[in-house]
């Protein structure tokens, strides 16, 4: 199936719950609200025409220009994206689902934005979600054990945030 067919099928099923789509992109994608993600993903995985049974990757992308002088020209508003790359073992097609989030929940710095976990749909999501939480700072609701995976448990901050500040010191080890 082409990306246009997949998008049409999703729009037929979910209507306005598909917030937006981009079919001109190199890898076409749809955007859904965080609350709709489990339903859309379940449909993508279980529908016999789609059968996206492989979750290739979950990525967190932080859209922020930390330099205030350049920020007006950056070409995007500050936000966070969680990107799901899916492919199908049987039909051999690929698709991308995105969730747009505020950088902080309720715009309170330090409060992580939340997305429902898809661990119950794909076991592969378990470690990917832990990594996105660890490095990009997204809280996955319903994840069985959302702990840091690559960094130490007592690490502070999420390094792939654009405004992350490098620690000066960690357990007596000098940073910078």
């Amino acid at each position: 199936m082409t990306a246009a067919d997949i998008t049409a099928l999703l729009e037929q099923q979910f209507g306005s719950r598909i917030a937006s789509k981009n079919l001109e992109a190199i890898d076409p994608f749809v955007v859904v609200a965080a609350a709709d993600l489990p339903d859309v993903c379940r449909f993508l995985r279980d529908d016999s025409r789609l059968q996206f049974d492989l979750l290739n990757c979950i990525s967190g992308v932080d859209y922020l220009e930390p330099d205030p002088k350049k920020a007006p020209k950056a070409g995007f508003d500050p936000h966070l994206e969680v990107v799901y790359h899916l492919s199908s073992f049987r039909h051999r097609h690929r698709f991308v689902v995105k969730v747009m989030l505020p950088r902080w929940k309720d715009d309170k710095p330090g409060e992580l934005p939340e997305v429902p976990s898809v661990t119950s749909l794909w076991a592969a999501a378990n470690w990917h979600e832990r990594e996105v939480y660890d490095l990009s700072g997204v809280w996955f609701i319903g994840h069985p054990e959302l702990t840091r995976i690559l960094l130490a448990d007592d690490w502070v901050g999420h390094p792939l945030r654009k405004d992350y500040e490098y620690p000066l010191e960690y357990h007596g080890i000098r940073g910078r």
């Binding site: 190199i26 890898d27 049974d53 950056a74 070409g75 790359h85 073992f89 990594e131 995976i149 792939l160």
Partner: protein, 405 residues
């Protein structure tokens, strides 16, 4: 007689009996353990000799390569990709280059593609040789390791002639390959392939058909096809669990989503059963999806890679165009996700170009194949003996540099 009320939810005395698991023990394995292939730490929950749970702890080699990727230009990031999967640096260079090229819409000349296929397949052979040798070490035999390194050394010598480096090459770069092949290299490479081919039966005599090896790997760590797909396993890990007789596809990205012109080469994706295409029958106890099959997929991929190398060598003298084209000065806005078939599985790079005329990407995400392959460890190790853990982890063939990035 005074009675003590049982705690809530534990009214049934037998439940308490079962809840107290007196024999359980936590055994720490690694991060400095020879059979964890680097700095992997496994915490084994054991009941006597039997494993009930394996918890991998990662991150000892974490260098935040993705953050570095946001701060350097794509060409500057190529050397960092070498250090991810350091046993297959060329394949990692290729994976990242393809992602950036797709983002910028570059179309490569034929010669660059032929060099890429040739070099990537040579590196695949080298990587699988280490995989085989190290797997032998895990299971307690030292000789195959020496044989594997003898042949790998020759590949490294060939690479050294090409790019001057023996481990971190940065040879395949955005727009093609860094240099053309030196004169006389094609003949030397052909000589090496002719030397390697008769050596492969030696490996099989030493390892594959060895009775102890078969006992340690057959029917150990069986990964079902469904579990492999659900956990996102790829590469030899997934292919070892497939069965062509049940209609499973040749799940190899070089076959199903060809890049670099792989569709024009004559080769087979290695998917069990092995008897029709390669003339191998599995040992009596072996079942599809076990450690023996994963190992065998790698061994047969060496044979297929030799075939690919020979075809690429034939094409090289007549290949048109240059070995490298210039990359555009600025990255295109937009994003792309590209996966390639690396020796350990599907290595994906997700590159987001910044809007406006940026020279550094907004985000570089590396989807590591070993990372996804490793997350299935608990699933396939539960119920095994402690002594089988090295056999299982070895059969996954992990490289920690790629997992931790």
């Amino acid at each position: 007689m005074a009675t003590v009320a049982p705690p809530e939810g534990k009214q049934d005395q037998t439940l308490i009996e079962f809840d107290v698991r007196t024999d359980e023990m936590l055994v720490n394995m690694g991060p400095q353990h020879p059979s964890t292939h680097g700095v992997l730490r496994l915490v084994l929950r054991t009941d006597g000799e039997v494993i009930s749970e394996v918890t991998p702890h990662l991150g000892y080699l974490h260098r935040c390569a993705e953050k570095i990727g946001e701060n350097v230009t794509p060409i500057q990031f190529i050397p960092y990709t070498d250090r991810m999967d350091y046993l297959a640096g060329m394949n990692m260079n290729l994976a990242y280059s393809l992602a950036v090229e797709k983002l910028c819409g570059m179309k490569l000349p034929e010669k660059a593609n032929v060099i890429r296929v040739l070099i990537a397949e040579l590196n695949r052979i080298a990587s699988h040789l280490v995989g085989m040798g190290a797997y032998g070490l895990d299971l307690g035999t030292f000789s195959p390791f020496l044989y594997a390194f003898r042949e790998r050394e020759m590949i490294l010598d060939l690479f050294e002639e090409v790019c001057g480096a023996r481990l971190t090459y940065s040879y395949i770069t955005i727009g093609g390959a860094h240099d053309d092949l030196p004169s006389g290299w094609v003949e030397r490479c052909r000589e090496f392939l002719n030397y390697l081919k008769p050596r492969i039966p030696e490996y099989h005599a030493l390892l594959t058909t060895n009775h102890i090896f078969v006992q340690r790997t057959a029917n150990i760590g069986v990964l079902s096809r469904e579990a492999a797909i659900a956990h996102g396993c790829t590469g030899p890990m997934l292919r070892g669990s497939l069965d062509r007789r049940l209609g499973d596809p040749d799940w190899d990205l070089r076959k199903i989503e060809p890049y670099c012109g792989y569709e024009t080469y004559d080769f087979n994706a290695v998917v069990p059963p092995f008897d029709d295409r390669w003339g191998w029958n599995p040992p009596r106890d072996s079942v599809i999806g076990d450690a023996w099959h994963r190992f065998m997929v790698r061994m047969l991929e060496v044979i297929e890679s030799i075939r690919l190398c020979e075809q690429a060598l034939d094409r090289y003298p007549n290949a048109q165009g240059s070995h490298r084209i210039e990359m555009p000065r600025h990255l295109t806005a937009g994003e792309t996700y590209v996966e390639t078939e690396c020796p350990r599985g599907q290595m994906g790079f997700y590159v987001v170009g910044a809007p406006g005329k940026g020279v550094v990407p907004l985000r570089v995400r590396a989807r590591s194949s070993s990372f996804c392959n490793l997350c299935v460890t608990n699933e396939i190790s539960s119920g095994c003996l402690i002594a089988d853990v090295p056999a299982i982890v070895g059969s996954i063939d992990i490289v920690m540099g790629e997992i931790d990035r």
